[in-house]
């Protein structure tokens, strides 16, 4: 359905060009120069893959009676992880110049927190227990484009930070943190109209500090995203 929408819009622009060509008057100058330029906007939305991460193994340990040994007595073992997530994302960018832009973005995902319970001292069957997290990321980025106005293929780099907000399944417990990211990508603009659609693909790393975690450390997670963008 999105592809049909894109096609329709492109056809309409084409029709405008035809009408202009048939008028006897000289074609007026383009209302603006090639875009993007300072003052242009870019809006987009799409899909982002966010890698999961593992926690250290957690043992349910009891204090050993010295008469029966000196090591810890493990009642059972818990191996926990947050699974890779498929997110929907959107961003709105503002160009200060043909090459520099700032963006605000939002991303939503529902990663699964999973813990595998095993090696029970009293023989409880191994079990996988799970819950789903609602994960929101509100971010701001600075984007530098390696090609100027009018180019159809535009490589870029982006970097920024954000606010991470994660709700556990019961919706009664929120864990928050900071997120920093760096990515490289490419935009492929369709045509060279002042207002036009394009496709954006980027890959990079997301640095999580806080949010739902067992440890107080920064986690580095690979990300990859594709989105449909519109320049105006």
């Amino acid at each position: 359905m999105i592809a049909r929408g894109v096609l329709l819009v492109l056809c309409l622009f084409g029709a405008v060009d035809v009408i202009h060509a048939q008028t006897p008057r000289p074609r007026p100058p383009a209302p603006t120069g090639p875009t993007p330029r300072g003052g242009s906007w870019e809006i987009g939305g799409g899909y982002t893959f966010v890698a999961g991460y593992d926690f250290d193994t957690s043992n349910a340990d009891l204090t050993r009676n010295t008469a029966s040994g000196t090591d810890r007595f493990t009642l059972f073992i818990s191996d926990s992880s947050v699974q890779a997530a498929h997110a929907v994302s959107g961003q709105l960018g503002y160009y200060f110049s043909p090459r520099w832009a700032v963006e605000g973005g939002i991303r939503f995902a529902r990663p699964v927190f999973r813990t595998e319970l095993s090696d029970d001292a009293e023989g409880a069957p191994d079990t996988v227990a799970e819950e789903k997290l609602d994960q929101y990321l509100f971010s701001a980025s600075v984007v530098y484009h390696f090609a100027g106005a009018g180019s159809s293929i535009v490589p870029f780099v982006a970097g920024g930070g954000g606010y991470l907000r994660e709700l556990h399944e019961s919706q009664e417990l929120v864990e928050t943190g900071a997120e920093y990211h760096a990515s490289v990508g490419i935009k492929n603009w369709f045509g060279n109209a002042r207002r036009r659609f394009g496709v954006r693909a980027e890959g990079g790393f997301s640095f999580r500090d806080g949010g739902f975690d067992f440890d107080e450390k920064v986690r580095v997670l690979p990300t990859f995203g594709v989105s449909l963008v519109y320049l105006f």
């Binding site: 007595f73 926990s80 409880a124």
Partner: protein
């Protein structure tokens, strides 16, 4: 309240000690149709120490170890209580004299009891009026900093008994093995386990998460109420409630364990004093100690089921509770 009425309250207490009340097991008493938690209402809790030592432990050393043991409970940040040494006394810890007394008694007839705690309570509101603790001088004792082989550590046993004095009953967070003459602890993660570690062990000088949760459930600060949460639910077998199931809540983030019991006919349980965050639940039969160590034998505890993990991660909210958990166990 007359002396006779007070004595009567002890009997009632013992009979009703298995009423479900929040975190693992607190001592409770039924007043009419409601259950009240046994607790001190007046602080500091003033205690006397019998002016009598035993082989290897002077009265002064005994008092010092007792004070350290009280201090462990006083220092729980999420609970509001305090204690005070009121002096040495000639009174015996078995006397009813409006004084809480801790001291040695020679009880060779109780050759499996290291120490015991008794109460006088006001049955109208569960207020503890007096509580005595005796240490059985039939056994060899030690106050050595690192423990003494063959001798039981006064401070460790005192921490356990003072837990009772403050209103806690036994916890089942431990594993035991049968040996000739009884059971031996393999491991435990609560000082309130009913069977002591072997002589020479000093591990029970330090409170565990289960002990802190239980104490805080009784004497919790307002911050505790705001910051900690609970899990409640049922343990069922073939659709019917299981009485006496031991339910453990494990926090994989902090690796802390807190236990509770299902004590009503519908198998309901409550585990309070939990840190916010995801928890794993595990239900097991109460087969690591005599049932009477925990409950009155008339409770009808069911131990005929298999150990089981709950299939979902349970998230404890901050200052609230998660309910409607049902752990379905299967018969052995």
């Amino acid at each position: 309240m007359t002396r006779w009425q007070r004595f009567l309250t002890i009997i009632i207490l013992i009979v009703l000690a298995a009423v479900p009340l929040g975190a693992y097991l607190k001592l409770g008493s039924r007043v009419g149709s409601r259950t009240v938690t046994l607790r001190w209402r007046q602080f500091p809790v003033r205690y006397f120490v019998t002016d009598r030592g035993v082989d290897g432990v002077s009265a002064q050393q005994f008092q010092t170890a007792i004070s350290r043991a009280f201090g462990k409970w006083d220092d729980v940040a999420t609970a509001e209580l305090s204690s005070q040494f009121a002096g040495f006394t000639q009174q015996s810890p078995e006397d009813s004299d409006d004084q809480s007394v801790l001291g040695f008694l020679n009880r060779p007839d109780q050759n499996r009891t290291l120490a015991a705690t008794s109460f006088f309570i006001d049955t109208s509101d569960g207020r503890i009026l007096e509580s005595d603790i005796f240490f059985n001088s039939t056994f060899a004792w030690s106050v050595s900093e690192s423990g003494t082989a063959g001798r039981f550590d006064i401070e460790s046993i005192a921490v356990h008994e003072i837990g009772h004095l403050l209103g806690l009953s036994h916890s089942a967070l431990g594993e035991t093995e049968l040996i000739s003459g009884g059971r031996r602890v393999i491991a435990a993660e609560t000082v309130m386990f009913p069977i002591a570690f072997s002589a020479g062990n000093t591990s029970d000088r330090e409170l565990k998460a289960d002990d802190i949760a239980g104490l805080s459930d009784i004497y919790g600060t307002s911050a505790f109420t705001r910051q900690f949460g609970s899990i409640s639910g049922r343990v069922t077998k073939n659709g019917a409630g299981v009485i006496g199931a031991h339910v453990i809540a494990f926090n994989p983030r902090t690796q802390k364990l807190v236990g509770g019991f299902s004590l009503s006919e519908d198998g309901s349980f409550v585990i309070a004093g939990l840190e916010p965050g995801p928890h794993v639940l595990r239900a097991e039969p109460l087969d690591d100690g005599d049932i009477e160590s925990f409950f009155d034998s008339s409770l009808g505890v069911d131990v005929n089921f298999n150990v089981k993990f709950y299939e979902r991660v349970v998230v404890v909210p901050r200052g609230g509770g998660t309910s409607n958990i049902e752990i379905r166990v299967t018969p052995k």
